[in-house]
């Protein structure tokens, strides 16, 4: 075996907006460094040249929404040593998982002139519902520095620095004043996974929960607080039904307020 052979990287797309895989291209300053360290073997968004598997690292974007994709993800898993899902679609089903709360056939009949050509699943589901996932990178979209950090950690054979703490920890380190306590704004920060460096509170807005639930996400206590701040059931349902609506914690909370 050739010594120090470059690891092969593949980027795959499922139901998604492409924003997360674009954040790899968005690493303008670091992209050449990345390309020197890994062989970008399969990344149709960046290059027509597609090299066959197996791949050392597969980055998977998007959720599973069709019977065809439900098959395809298994083929990708078989060709990948390490499979990392990137973004809210791949890790939680994405914004398109809002359909999981309704009857998808009604949407199809409403939207498409010829519904019979549409082959789709009732639910939009995260990749982890179908195959084993080695690592999840959260966010809508992901943070490009976190993506670099995960690739960097893989190359250097170390643990990535991707804390699963709340957004509040990043917010307070930055010295941002809590928008919920000081202005009564609805903020999902206390129950949301960190990673965005408290982007929205830094611009004086509440957190939308783009990174999905943090570990031990106590959504019911936060929802109680939203109630005492004057939010009605409908607004609470809407608050938890964003890009990570189908993540366990956020889904259960929104369903509790829908009854």
């Amino acid at each position: 075996m050739v010594k120090s052979k470059k690891p092969k990287l593949a980027v795959w797309k499922f139901a998604s907006c492409d924003g997360c895989q674009l954040s790899l291209l968005d690493c303008e300053d670091e992209l050449l460094d990345v390309a020197e360290i890994v062989e970008i073997a399969n990344f149709p968004e960046a290059s027509r040249e597609v090299k066959p598997g197996p791949y050392d690292i597969s980055l998977v974007e998007g959720s599973i929404t069709t019977p065809h994709d439900a098959e395809r993800i298994h083929k990708i898993r078989r060709q990948s040593k390490i499979l990392i899902t990137i973004g809210a679609c791949a890790t939680a089903g994405g914004i398109q998982a809002l359909r999981n709360f309704k009857d998808v056939r009604e949407f199809i009949n409403l939207v498409y002139a010829n519904p019979k050509f549409i082959s789709t699943l009732q639910n939009s589901t995260p990749i982890s519902h179908h195959v084993y996932v080695d690592y999840e990178l959260r966010g809508c979209p992901i943070n490009k520095y976190q993506l670099l950090e995960v690739l960097n950690a893989f190359i250097n054979n170390r643990k990535p620095n991707i804390p699963n703490t709340s957004v509040c920890i990043e917010c307070k380190r930055k010295g941002i004043t809590c928008v919920m306590v000081s202005e009564g704004k609805v903020c999902l920060g206390p129950v949301t996974h960190s990673g965005c460096n408290a982007l929205c509170p830094s611009y004086n807005r509440g957190c939308f929960g783009c990174y999905g639930p943090k570990e031990a996400s106590n959504t019911s206590s936060l929802a109680n607080q939203f109630e005492s701040m004057g939010l009605g059931n409908y607004d609470i349902v809407r608050t938890f039904r964003g890009f990570n609506a189908y993540s366990d914690a956020f889904r259960k909370e929104s369903e509790a307020y829908e009854k």
Binding site: N161, M180, V181, S182, P190, A216
Partner: protein, 376 residues
């Protein structure tokens, strides 16, 4: 005790600047009073006050032009003495050798203006943590030794203040270089100013101020008495350590876990919390690595991670760790309580969990158990 007229406050600021201090004090940013750079007296929250209850904080116009008519906000001085993110060192790979380069820091001379009595106590607690023992945090120690503490006696209390219970205020009694008491009375607006150290003497001697008369001294005492009378929150600390450590298995902890978000806000705003984590970063070329220190919290799962997994998985066990450390085991570790009664953890908890209420629940439960034991 001297008198500094409010309209002459810039004299103090100018002398601090002449003595090469970087002045940090209260100022309004994004709807809160935070500690940041002060250039002139106009930067203070003149004419504003704060209203605090569990999980709410608001600033509003007050009925006078006071500089310091508010209590503590979301930040504490630890942001400056112990910054939230610090690089510790960089390591370079050169052939087979690794070269370590320690991160240098600027030995800034901070003048902290508007430090409250409870905050002085908090700084002194962190002194014990960072350079009270065998292992010394050189960066903290240098910044602390360089700093000038210009304290202010609180002219009001808010509903989350409980300094009288923790014997930390409201009157500034020690640990200051200069102390101010703001007096607004009968169209007069001035500060009583007194020195508490040699550094304070040096600044005061450059100001050429008039001595305070007896009337002014009495008004100063009245300010402190009035503030004391406004404090409504109390924590009974007698035997508290023993009570808490006896109730490690109480159902109280699981009860609070139903409300606790384990978000870590209480620890981030606490002026004595000092926990940190380190993260190692590498570059893609495998030639350079950096170690970064960041504020951490005992409320995170990773905080208690050791080989095999995290020790404190349940949120109840994390809250228990925090509260019992603050109010009980801190005594064993540092010979003092870890709580100064500033009330920040109550105000800035997004769901308003109150440390005094949780601690008193433990007391009530134990008293009830004692009674029922006696009855049996």
């Amino acid at each position: 005790m001297k008198i500094l007229q409010a309209n002459n406050f810039d004299l103090l600021l100018n002398i601090l600047k002449e003595n090469e201090y970087e002045i940090i004090g209260p100022t309004i940013q994004n709807g809160a009073i935070v500690y940041d750079k002060i250039e002139s007296s106009r930067d203070f929250p003149i004419g504003y006050t704060d209203k605090q209850t569990p999980a709410t904080y608001r600033i509003e116009k007050s009925n006078n032009d006071a500089f310091f008519h508010f209590v503590v906000g979301p930040q504490s001085w630890k942001r400056y003495l112990y910054p939230p993110v610090q690089k510790l060192f960089t390591a370079f790979l050169n052939g087979n050798a690794i070269k370590f380069e320690k991160e240098e820091f600027l030995p800034i001379k901070y003048a902290f203006i508007g430090v409250r009595s409870c905050e002085i106590q908090a700084i002194e607690i962190q002194d014990k943590v960072f350079f009270g023992g065998e292992f010394q945090n050189n960066r903290y120690k240098t910044l602390r030794k360089n700093s000038l503490i210009i304290a202010v006696n609180c002219s009001k209390a808010e509903s989350n203040c409980f300094c009288t219970s923790m014997e930390s205020g409201p009157e500034v009694k020690s640990g200051y270089d200069l102390v101010l008491t703001e007096i607004i009375y009968d169209k007069e607006h001035y500060f009583l100013i007194n020195s508490g150290s040699q550094k304070g003497d040096e600044i005061l001697s450059q100001m050429n101020l008039l001595e305070a008369d007896e009337n002014a001294l009495k008004l100063g005492k009245d300010v402190i008495e009035k503030t004391k009378s406004q404090i409504t929150k109390h924590l009974n600390i007698s035997n508290l350590k023993e009570l808490l450590l006896k109730n490690i298995e109480s159902s109280i902890w699981e009860d609070v876990a139903k409300r606790c978000l384990s978000c870590g806000n209480c620890t981030m705003v606490c002026p004595t919390c000092f926990c940190m984590t380190v993260e190692d970063y590498t570059d893609l070329q495998k030639t350079k690595a950096e170690r970064i220190q960041k504020w951490d919290s005992c409320f995170t799962l990773e905080y208690s991670y050791i080989h095999g997994g995290s020790v404190r998985v349940s949120v109840g066990s994390r809250y228990r760790q925090w509260l019992t450390h603050k109010l009980a085991s801190w005594h064993e570790q540092f010979g003092t309580s870890g709580c100064v009664g500033c009330g920040r953890c109550i105000t800035w908890c997004p769901v308003g969990i109150d440390i005094t209420e949780e601690a008193s629940k433990i007391r009530k439960i134990s008293e009830y158990q004692n009674i029922s034991l006696e009855e049996n």
